[in-house]
Point group: C2
Chain length 335, copies 2
């Protein structure tokens, strides 16, 4: 099927570009609350599922053993900007396991935030793996290995015990069978598995509610969500959508983006989770859509609804500050 | 109508994202050689029509009066990277008209090229209007005004004599009626007019062939195309698609990108022009499609065909250099 237009980009009085995609909101039992488009199409969650991938860090006892608090747990679930505080905390997490940057297998890159990149260019020769947006997740991976005496060498590989464990966690949460057939390699070199969008949302709804989860996993899931909601800067950073969505509703919204137009979110108090995939992979569309969808779960007089609705229509200004058009969610369903 | 998928983005063995769009190739008489999708949909050409907007600079005699050669003319048609050579040449063009950066009305921005941005961050406090990707075009605008004794103040405005002249040039070339109803404001603050994609391609085919043009305009058009093909670095810069396409076929291909997934190109020796619009505005798709479409006009044994085909399938490598997927044109028609 052809997914509907979910976001329009206007210029003057005309629509200049448009984004198609799918969206689904489910409850803890997997019941679809609302949906748009093909919610059963295989979708690579990319970084949107980092909180799922962080479960071994919690369930192994490594996080407690190394004394990790909300900031460290949020960073383990993050795609961060590479700001100084992110980099320092990733290094500190590794140090707790007696490791350093040399153990990271995620590769190095400059920040994708222009403001941070300018700062980086002025303060360092080149980035290290600690600056990689995934360094917190990888530090968590390494800690999960080291705490259990597993050699972290090669921890990004499909056959490494850690990735096998994560594969099992994600199969259990999403209900999808994962293997080489639906596996790709992510930007940070770990496996990423295409799963139906509906299953991805259901996995997050299970994490938000604990429905159907063993007590250890339910507790670990809740603690990761609480950490991200308590420290949204460490999930992304300055000017980023994940951070802004969680700051708009402190302690009430969990939100995590993934590359190629994926966004996952949950409202734990309502037992709801949402997954979005923009067909063309553009984050401006997934960001607007997830904000529009989340807004419907807050009452008409709740200022959170207005804050989220404002994020669903983004004014575009040119280099002289002139308002030239908007990015606006067009297909947000009524809850 | 719903445009077809023109570009797929793969990861592993799966399609992760896809881009829809329209494409048309026409000859100098406006006859459609081939097309994909809705080629009559109003489309903002954005920066893809800069060579059209540079015609007053030529036709007024300003370019000759100020002694502009290929590099200056290419820069007048450019969306440049803000590299040092681009910035210096824009300043030199303004100086020929006795003007400086203060006359530019395009606004300032850092380079969108990561490599150039790092260099800029290390060598200057903040960018000026000379670093704006449109500064060469704007320098050309100002020169066209000053040579004729027209006050350049407010030259970006819809009602300024220069913009009225450009409006007339574009109406004549594209066959579209332009006015407030199909006008938006571009990133650099000048008016941009939505025209049917077919008309945009026809305008470039007229410029490439001279068909139906007065001798002055035919000569000016040919000189601008020749300048861009002779100095492709000044049309875009290091690592950019416009530059790479023109370098792949020296003196035989003219190519110019525009924001929001537009690409225009011409093969003057064959009297053909092409226009592409990716529905969702992503340049990775318009770049792959224009390369695929251009490749079909070169013989099976011509190395240019292979060079262009290679640009129509771009390998994506992650931070560790692992080949994770491809961006590939899927709907390239046979010429």
């Amino acid at each position: 099927m052809t997914n509907p237009v979910i976001v329009e980009v206007t210029r003057g009085s005309l629509v200049e570009s448009q984004h198609r995609g799918a969206l689904v909101a489910v409850d803890g039992d997997g019941k679809v609350v609302f949906s748009i488009g093909d919610i059963d199409a295989p979708t690579f969650p990319r970084s949107a599922c980092k909180a799922m991938q962080a479960l071994p860090l919690m369930e192994s006892g490594a996080a407690d053993a190394y004394g990790f608090g909300d900031k460290e747990l949020a960073l383990a679930c993050s795609s961060h900007n590479g700001e100084d505080a992110h980099v320092a905390l990733a290094a500190a997490m590794l140090a707790r396991a007696g490791r350093g940057v040399e153990t990271l297998e995620c590769g190095a890159h400059w920040s994708s935030s222009q403001k941070v990149l300018i700062h980086q260019a002025r303060t360092m020769d080149k980035p290290t793996a600690l600056h990689n947006n995934c360094s917190g997740k990888h530090a968590g991976f390494i800690c999960a290995c080291c705490h259990r005496g597993i050699d972290p060498n090669g921890y990004v590989g499909y056959d490494h015990p850690l990735q096998a464990e994560i594969r099992g966690v994600m199969e259990s949460l999403t209900g999808a069978v994962l293997g080489h057939d639906n596996c790709g390699t992510d930007g940070c070199s770990i496996p990423t598995y295409a799963v139906p969008l509906r299953g991805l949302a259901h996995g997050f709804a299970k994490m938000a509610t604990g429905n159907g989860l063993e007590p250890l996993r339910a507790k670990a899931s809740r603690r990761l969500f609480d950490a991200c909601m308590a420290e949204p800067f460490y999930v992304a950073g300055t000017g980023r959508a994940c951070t802004a969505l969680m700051e708009a509703a402190p302690g009430r919204i969990f939100a995590k983006t993934g590359a190629e137009g994926v966004f996952c979110a949950a409202i734990p108090e309502q037992g709801i989770a949402i997954a979005v995939k923009c067909d063309d992979g553009h984050s401006r569309a997934s960001e607007a859509m997830v904000a529009a969808a989340l807004s419907r779960f807050f009452g008409k007089d709740d200022p959170i609804r207005a804050s989220l609705a404002a994020m669903a229509t983004i004014e575009m200004h040119n280099w002289n500050g002139i308002h030239v058009g908007d990015i606006r969610a067009t297909a947000a369903p009524t809850a």
